[in-house]
C-alpha cells in the first residue's frame, strides 16, 4: 500500500535516470541515513557501535570494492585481503612519516597505493579470464602476504611486526588510537563509507558502469561497440583496489587499533568474496547485505545462545556458530543463487503490487 509508485510520473530524463526514481525509496534512504548518522551514535551501546557497526561498515566497503571487480566487471579476484593490507600499511607509513597531516586524508590517500598495486596485478586480466585469473590474483595475495611479513620497514621495524596505530586527532578529538571514543570512530567510518558508496553508485549508473557490465556480459560485443577492454578492466581493478585499500586502512586504524599481517591473509579474501556472492554479484546494496549476513550472523547466534542461558563453553559456541553460519549460507544460496540483493528486489516487487500477486 505504502510502497506504490502510482501517480509518480517522470516528465524529464533527469528524473527518470535517477538512482532512486521512486519517492518511497528516497524517503527510505533518508531514514536509513538519519538512523545511521544520528540514531546509532546517540542510542547505540559502545559494544554495538565498536564491535558491530564499525566492522560491518568496513566489510561493506571492502565488499563494494570486490563487487566492482567481480560483480560488475566479471573478473574473479582472490587478492582482496592483500589489497586491503596495502592500504593499511600505506596509511601506517604515511602517518608515521608525516604525522602532521590529518589521518583521514592519509586513509583516503592510502587507497591510491592499493590502487597502483591492483593495476599491476590486474595486468594479466588482459590475457586470461575466469578461474585462471583467480589464480593469478591469488599470486598477488601470496606475494603481498609475504611482503607484509618479510619487510620490517613496512612496520617501522617494530619488534612485534605489527601495525601499532598511533593517536591522531581531528579538531582536537582523538579519532584513532586507544583514546578514541567509539562514537567518533564510528562517525568517521560511516562518513567515508557513505561518501565512497555514493561515488560507486554514481560510477556504476553511468557510462563507466555500463562499460564494466558490458565487459562482464559479452566482452566480444563490448569491444565491437568501441569499449577498450584493457582500459575498462584496468579501471575496474584500480577502483576496486582503491576501495579495498581504504577498507583495509579503516579496518586497522578505526577498528582493530593494531594489526598483524595475518589479518590480510587469504582467509580475509575468501571472507569478502563470500559476502559478495551471498549479497549479490553486481549490486551495491547486496554488498551491505552480504557483510551484514556473514559478519552479523555469528554475533546474533552467539547472542541467542547467551539469551537462552545454555551452559556451553565459549569454544563450543564458536564451533556451533561456524556450523550454523555454514548451513545458513548453503540455505540462502539454494533459495536465491543470485544473492540477497535479488531477494530484496523480489520483495520490493511483491510489495509494489500487494495485495495482488502480480
Amino acid at each position: 500500500m505504502l510502497y506504490r509508485e502510482a501517480g509518480q510520473f517522470k516528465t524529464n530524463y533527469v528524473d527518470d535516470q535517477a538512482v532512486f526514481p521512486i519517492r518511497q525509496d528516497r524517503i527510505g534512504i533518508a531514514v536509513i541515513l538519519a538512523v545511521a548518522f544520528v540514531g546509532i551514535p546517540l542510542f547505540g551501546s559502545d559494544f554495538f557501535i565498536s564491535a558491530v557497526m564499525v566492522p560491518l561498515l568496513v566489510f561493506s566497503l571492502a565488499a563494494i570494492g570486490l563487487n566492482i571487480l567481480t560483480g560488475y566487471t566479471g573478473l574473479l579476484s582472490l587478492g582482496t585481503g592483500g589489497f586491503m593490507g596495502v592500504g593499511a600499511f600505506a596509511c601506517y607509513k604515511l602517518t608515521t612519516i608525516f604525522p602532521d597531516v590529518n589521518i583521514i586524508i592519509w586513509i583516503l590517500v592510502s587507497g591510491f597505493f592499493s590502487c597502483g598495486i591492483g593495476i599491476l596485478f590486474g595486468l594479466p586480466s588482459l590475457r586470461i579470464k575466469g578461474f585462471y585469473l583467480a589464480v593469478a590474483t591469488l599470486s598477488a595475495q601470496f606475494f603481498l602476504d609475504w611482503a607484509f611479513v618479510r619487510i620490517p620497514w613496512l612496520v617501522n621495524n617494530n619488534t612485534s611486526g605489527a601495525i601499532e596505530v598511533p593517536s591522531r586527532y581531528l579538531f582536537g578529538m582523538p579519532i584513532t588510537g586507544p583514546m578514541a571514543q567509539p562514537e567518533v570512530r564510528y562517525l568517521v567510518v560511516l562518513s567515508i563509507v557513505a561518501l565512497l558508496t555514493l561515488i560507486a553508485s554514481n560510477l556504476v549508473h553511468g557510462r563507466i558502469g555500463r562499460s564494466w557490465m558490458a565487459v562482464r556480459d559479452m566482452d566480444l560485443a563490448a569491444e565491437l561497440i568501441g569499449i577498450r577492454l584493457y582500459r575498462t578492466k584496468l579501471l575496474a581493478f584500480a577502483v576496486s583496489s582503491y576501495y579495498c585499500g581504504v577498507a583495509g586502512a579503516l579496518m586497522v586504524f578505526l577498528w582493530y587499533g593494531s594489526a598483524e599481517p595475518a589479518v590480510f591473509g587469504i582467509d580475509q579474501s575468501f571472507f569478502i568474496l563470500f559476502m559478495v556472492i551471498i549479497g549479490g554479484l553486481g549490486s551495491l546494496v547486496g554488498s551491505f547485505f552480504g557483510a551484514a549476513l556473514i559478519y552479523g550472523m555469528p554475533i546474533i547466534l552467539k547472542a541467542i545462545v547467551g539469551l537462552v542461558g545454555l551452559q556451553i563453553s565459549p569454544a563450543t559456541v564458536e564451533h556451533l556458530t561456524f556450523m550454523a553460519v555454514g548451513g545458513l549460507i548453503i540455505l540462502f544460496l539454494i533459495i536465491e543463487p543470485a544473492g540477497l540483493a535479488r531477494l530484496w528486489q523480489v520483495g520490493k516487487q511483491k510489495l509494489r503490487v500487494w495485495p495482488f500477486p502480480y
Binding site: 530524463y13 554514481n202 556480459d217 560485443a221 561497440i225 568501441g226
Partner: protein, 267 residues
C-alpha cells in the same frame, strides 16, 4: 543522423569498403581464399552461401576480430592489411551477431545506451559525481536512444533485462544497440535466423527503413533467399571460402555456379 533521402538514383554512392584478395586460414583450414568485393555507400549488400562458406569469417575480418594472412581492406579510402576492433568501431562499423550477443544482465535501455559509449567522453572525475557535464551528456544520449527505441517500437520493454526477452525482441534490441553507434556501415549476421514470417517481415521493414531514412550502408548475411532477393541491391556468393558470383539478385539467381553450389552437381 542524416535527413531522409528518398531518391533511389542518388542512394548508392562510391565504394565505402573494399576487400581485396583476402585469405584467412585457421591452421590448415582455409576459411577464406582470395576473396575480393566491395560495398558501396548507401546500398544493401548481401553475402550468401552454403554453410561453412566463410560468410561470418568475412564479417569478422571486416570488423577486426580475425586477422587475414593476406589481402587488403580499404575502408573510407584508407587501405590496411587488417582492421582492429576499436578502429572499426570508431570508424563507424557496427555489427549484430548470428546468435544474439547482448549484455544479458543489463536492461534493453542500458544495452542501447552502451552502444553510445564511443560518443560519450565526460571524464572519470565528473562521472564520480554524476552531475554537471556527466549528467548533461547522459541525458543528451538518453534522448537519442529514446528515438531508436521509438523507431524499433520497444518502448514497453526498455527496463526489462534483455536475458528475459523473447528471441525476436532480443534481435531487435541488438539492432538498436548497433544503430546507437550511428554507423556508416552496418553488418548484420543472419538478422532473420529463427524468426517466424511475421517477425521476418518486421525485421525486413526495419532494415529497409534504416537504409532509407538514415542512409546507412548495410551488409547482411542471410539464408532466407526470399529476403535476400527482395532486400538487397547486390549479392556476393561465397562457397568453400571462394567467391563464386557477384552481382544483382537476378544475375546471381541465374548463375550456374551458384545453382550448383546450392543444389549440388551431378558427377
Amino acid at each position: 543522423m542524416r535527413a531522409p533521402d528518398d531518391s533511389l538514383k542518388t542512394r548508392i554512392g562510391d565504394v565505402l569498403l573494399a576487400v581485396e584478395d583476402v585469405s584467412l586460414a585457421f591452421g590448415g583450414v582455409k576459411a577464406i581464399n582470395g576473396v575480393s568485393f566491395d560495398i558501396r555507400q548507401g546500398e544493401i549488400r548481401a553475402i550468401i552461401g552454403p554453410n561453412g562458406a566463410g560468410k561470418t569469417s568475412m564479417l569478422n575480418v571486416i570488423n577486426g576480430f580475425y586477422h587475414p594472412q593476406q589481402g587488403r581492406i580499404t575502408f573510407k579510402g584508407k587501405t590496411r592489411s587488417r582492421m582492429r576492433p576499436h578502429e572499426a568501431a570508431s570508424g563507424g562499423i557496427a555489427r549484430t551477431f548470428q546468435n544474439v550477443a547482448l549484455f544479458r544482465g543489463m536492461s534493453a535501455l542500458d544495452n542501447i545506451m552502451a552502444g553510445r559509449t564511443l560518443k560519450m567522453n565526460v571524464n572519470f572525475f565528473w562521472q564520480m559525481f554524476r552531475r554537471g557535464p556527466a549528467m548533461r551528456e547522459e541525458i543528451e544520449h538518453r534522448r537519442f536512444v529514446e528515438e531508436i527505441i521509438d523507431f524499433l517500437k520497444i518502448q514497453d520493454i526498455r527496463r526489462t533485462p534483455v536475458g528475459r526477452l523473447p528471441y525476436g525482441l532480443q534481435k531487435r534490441v541488438e539492432l538498436g544497440r548497433a544503430l546507437a553507434m550511428e554507423p556508416e556501415l552496418l553488418l548484420l549476421d543472419e538478422p532473420m535466423a529463427g524468426m517466424n514470417l511475421e517477425e521476418k517481415e518486421d525485421m525486413s521493414r526495419y532494415i529497409l527503413d534504416v537504409n532509407e531514412y538514415y542512409g546507412t550502408t548495410i551488409a547482411l548475411i542471410e539464408h532466407d533467399m526470399g529476403v535476400v532477393m527482395d532486400l538487397s541491391d547486390r549479392v556476393v556468393v561465397l562457397d568453400h571460402g571462394e567467391k563464386i558470383a557477384d552481382g544483382t539478385p537476378d544475375e546471381v539467381k541465374r548463375n550456374q555456379a551458384v545453382i550448383d553450389a546450392y543444389l549440388g552437381v551431378a558427377h
